[in-house]
Symmetry: C2
DNA sequence: CCCTTTTCACCTAGGTGGTAAGAT
DNA sequence: ATCTTACCACCTAGGTGAAAAGGG
């Protein structure tokens, strides 16, 4: 399924005439598994993380594009899809349920993106920069644990209009 | 509206590692306006063509891509849209109704596509090749003139399923 | 008279949380 | 007891020709 709300970023400081890929990956925040304690409304550690899943990368569909093009628009990751199926063959990003994750935005100069692939880790080095925003850390679930989250999803997601009062 | 059936082409002979744009434009077949004579089931000349419309180009949304990528797939133009509105600002291809047209497929080496634009004629010269297929000539209408065409559209277009018996 | 525009019911395609059943 | 899966009604978004209304 899609991630909602989606990450949206603005970028500045690119070379307008240089081509870039923009990509997102999602990395574990820690080595823990969590459970939600309803009476305290808190996520609590519930053991160590499950074993790692195959690495996946969401390459923004406008890639590659010039620095000028990227800087002119808000870059939205709303079509990125998540799954908990480790055997997924749709190129979705694979995550464990009940774990904490941090999405990262990557800006990759075109000449450094030759071995960019949805199923390989993002290369690092010169011409590749990563950005992450702590306020975007989230915990994965298969069912919502908390009515405020459910409310937010229903109120804000146009596709959930059928559940609004 | 979309063109249906859509043009679909296969390409061979590209340099696998060279980047290309693929584009389509649609040019008048002659300088005539037509009307359909029902009793003879034929299109007849009905005067000279209306004055030219602003030139538009459909740049295939997978552009630019490598020769390898283009040659691996059937290239479909099903998202190309036509309009008879000369003031169109959606980037659709503008045509006169009741005229005959020939779609053309253009293969443009990336370094020759710098001034490629949806609202400018396709550049010509080295690194740009055009292909047209006489069997794809068509006559534009605002309402179908002929029950065999209506039948073909309803039978073959998934979106017209509601009109099938 | 002939052609065009507008609106509509009916589709395709796919993104929602709810819910009941399944799994561990 | 807790988490997951499969299916569903209900949406968004948009592509069909029919039919009625509009226009020169």
């Amino acid at each position: 399924r899609r991630m909602f709300p989606a990450m949206r970023v603005k970028i500045s400081g690119l070379d307008p005439h240089q081509q870039y890929y923009i990509a997102m990956d999602i990395v574990p925040v820690d080595n823990k598994r969590y459970r939600y304690v309803y009476h305290s409304s808190k996520w609590m550690v519930a053991g160590n993380a499950d074993s790692p899943v195959p690495p996946r990368v969401y390459i923004h569909p406008d890639s590659p594009a010039s620095g000028e093009t990227w800087m002119r628009q808000v870059i939205s990751f709303d079509k990125l899809k998540l799954t908990n199926n480790e055997l997924d063959d749709q190129g979705h990003i694979i995550l464990h349920s009940m774990h904490k994750y941090q999405p990262r935005v990557h800006v990759i100069r075109k000449d450094c993106g030759d071995d960019l692939s949805p199923i390989k880790p993002i290369p690092s080095g010169e011409g590749v920069k990563a950005f992450s925003f702590p306020e975007t850390v989230f915990t994965t679930v298969t069912a919502y644990q908390n009515q405020q989250i459910t409310r937010l999803k229903i109120d804000r997601n146009p596709f959930a209009k059928g559940f609004r009062d």
